[in-house]
């Protein structure tokens, strides 16, 4: 086994056996996020379940009967007829019979609808707690009433203007949407295209930020642990090149960080899927509109992300060299890396070309923006900017790596001491 491999394996063992790392960075995302998603889904299911609506009908006309019929036809609704003739009695019954909403149709309701003078009904939401399902129940009834309004409008229009399609009066203008994507016209509105690309433009920056922060924290922890546990001095006097030590530590850290990042991505995706259960799969794909990333594009995106991870690793190693303990290293790395990663989040909301020129150049100067820029540029087949980004990241990483290697070859790796939030320990004679 080569000396580099020995360090790499030691690094992985040391990190993967650390309960803090295993629990915090692997178990928690794989358990906590899906659990949160499951809880949300359970909450939403209770909201979606059948709702009992009480109707106190004081009207004798046919429109109130029509309203009750539409309510009865609604699959998520169970009707309850209060026995009491008084409002107080009906509310009390609602409370004891798990009726979430009580509708009171006043006398003369049908006549008001008939005369188009504006009919009113009273809605009493029965709230037992402050859970989401309680609050949403009344808004569900609002939506049902909205639907009833539309249906009643159609009935009134049909009665008053018999030979006309009520839809044309309710909505006299309809829009047929087309989008021109890279010179190709597709007959879908821009909102649909935006929906298709949103997952891509959202996932790459989020995943990248998670990965970069993990890699950075892990590299800082790995280096600072050597200092805190007083193992670094021994390691540096072993018959192995300092470059092999640096490479071994970076390699081991990268593997463990990637495992953590994958755990977070799986956990996060499971969590996010809890919010998508109501969505209908679109028949349209990015390929249909010419926005799909080609296999070569994916390779370039992979290279770009890999280079960004390498840049974060080297930068964190250099920063951690200056610290004495794990806490200081993690703080220093967060303070330094976060401002370099966070601005790339802007690409979730805005295209680079729509940004002011100065901001555009600032973002281009930040190394961690480039994989995010690459994700949208590759969809538009703009390979030049992606290649430029990869070259820039390569140069940035090389410079940081050279600094890291230089630091490892000097006494600074032993003597540099930045302490954040703790007292400095005295140097010995």
């Amino acid at each position: 086994m080569s000396k580099f491999t020995a360090i790499l394996i030691k690094e992985m063992k040391d990190l993967l056996r650390d309960p803090k790392i295993v629990v915090g960075m692997i178990v928690v995302p794989l358990v906590l996020f899906p659990a949160m998603g499951a809880m949300f889904r359970t909450g939403m299911k209770s909201v979606e379940s059948e709702i009992q609506i009480g109707v106190m009908n004081q009207d004798t006309g046919h429109f109130s009967q029509e309203l009750i019929r539409i309510l009865e036809d609604n699959p998520g609704v169970k009707l309850y007829q209060p026995q009491s003739s008084s409002l107080e009695g009906a509310i009390q019954e609602a409370q004891t019979n798990d009726v979430k909403v009580l509708l009171v149709i006043p006398p003369g309701f049908s006549a008001d609808v008939e005369d188009t003078t504006g009919a009113e009904i009273d809605m009493y939401a029965v709230v037992e707690g402050l859970g989401m399902s309680e609050v949403i129940s009344s808004s569900r009834v609002d939506m049902i009433i909205q639907g009833i309004n539309t249906q009643l409008s159609r009935t009134i229009i049909s009665e008053k203007v018999p030979d006309t399609d009520p839809g044309n009066i309710l909505q006299p203008i309809t829009t047929r949407g087309y989008t021109v994507v890279r010179g190709k016209t597709v007959n879908v509105p821009p909102a649909v295209i935006a929906g298709l690309v949103s997952s891509q433009s959202f996932i790459v920056p989020v995943v990248l930020m998670v990965m970069i922060m993990f890699v950075a924290q892990m590299a800082a922890t790995s280096m600072a642990t050597e200092k805190e546990n007083k193992t670094l001095e021994t390691l540096l006097t072993l018959p192995v090149s300092r470059l092999s030590i640096l490479a071994g530590k970076m390699g081991g850290t990268a593997v463990v960080s990637l495992i953590s990042a994958v755990a977070y991505i799986i956990g996060f995706s499971t969590y996010m899927s809890a919010f998508q259960f109501g969505e209908v799969e679109s028949a349209l794909s990015l390929k249909d509109v010419g926005l799909a990333i080609t296999p070569v594009g994916f390779l370039m995106l992979g290279i770009s992300i890999f280079m960004a991870v390498l840049a974060a690793l080297s930068l964190s190693m250099v920063l951690a060299v200056f610290t004495q303990d794990v806490r200081s290293a993690q703080s220093l790395v967060s303070f330094t890396i976060m401002p370099l990663v966070f601005p790339s989040m802007i690409f979730i909301f805005a295209d680079m070309n729509s940004l002011p020129v100065a901001l555009r150049y600032v973002l281009l100067a930040l190394p961690f923006s480039h994989p995010t820029i690459a994700a949208s540029a590759l969809a538009l087949k703009n390979y030049a900017i992606v290649l430029g980004g990869i070259v820039y990241l390569g140069v940035f990483t090389l410079v940081v790596l050279l600094i890291a290697a230089h630091m490892f070859n000097t006494e600074r790796v032993v003597t540099a001491k930045i302490t954040l939030g703790r007292k400095k320990s005295k140097s010995k004679g």
Binding site: K3, K13, R17, N229, K230, E233, T237, V240, T415, G429
Partner: protein
């Protein structure tokens, strides 16, 4: 043959002069002790010989290899035990020795070296337990075992018995003497002057970054008409 050659060694940290031109030589197979109070420059000297710190001026050679020009060759000849050393807490004792052995040998020799280390450590079955479960003394014995198991040409030991009880300290001193008898050169520092007197063939007294005097323990005691090295040191300091 000269194992260590230190000539006019100066080490400055920012505005502090840690070493002010010290010189000494250590012969092969010798146990050479550095004694002095806290902040005298003992650890700095050891860390320079171990290639951890850079020299401000002067010359340091280990078996003829310049620590400044050829640190990697020097590292092939040495084994360094820092005073405040630790071992990887998430590895077992045997995994730690195995990891270290891979830098000095390969193949079946690794197993032999680890077996030697296990025997030196005296940890018996506990060698298979995680280092995080060890007491301070057990960790120190593991580290001493690590520094001696490869039979290094030069062992640099900073306070080798630090944190050990009387019995274990005695055992470690015996191990150091045994290794010197096999031809291993030892450069050690200690606050414990009786320990240095027991172990060292020659001694240098360091105070405020300078060598105050050097010689065999016998020579020094005669020179200062002292009963032991503690008295020698106090006398040497008072002459300054």
């Amino acid at each position: 043959m000269t194992a260590i050659e230190v000539v006019d060694l100066v080490k400055n940290y920012a505005n502090i002069e840690a070493l002010r031109g010290i010189s000494f030589m250590v012969n092969k197979g010798e146990i050479f002790g550095l004694i002095g109070p806290n902040g005298a420059g003992k650890t700095t000297t050891l860390r320079i010989v171990a290639t951890l710190l850079e020299i401000s001026s002067g010359i340091v050679r280990v078996f003829g290899n310049d620590v400044k020009k050829d640190p990697e060759r020097v590292r092939e000849k040495i084994s360094y035990l820092p005073e405040e050393a630790g071992a990887y807490k998430n590895l077992s004792g045997i995994e730690y020795l195995n990891f270290m052995a891979q830098f000095y040998t390969n193949g079946r020799d690794i197993e032999e070296m680890v077996a030697t280390g296990t025997s030196i450590s005296g940890l018996e079955d506990r060698i298979n337990d995680k280092v995080s479960t060890y007491s301070k003394g057990m960790t120190r014995k593991l580290l001493v075992a690590r520094s001696l198991m490869m039979n290094p040409p030069l062992a640099i030991l900073d306070e080798p018995t630090s944190g050990l009880d009387v019995i274990n300290s005695q055992e470690v001193r015996g191990l150091i003497k045994d290794h010197a008898r096999k031809g291993c050169t030892v450069l050690l520092s200690s606050h414990n002057m009786l320990e240095i007197e027991f172990l060292s063939s020659r001694v240098a007294l360091i105070g405020e970054g300078r060598i105050l005097d050097s010689g065999t323990p016998g020579e020094l005691k005669n020179r200062y008409s002292a009963q032991n090295l503690e008295e020698v040191f106090l006398e040497a300091v008072s002459h300054e």
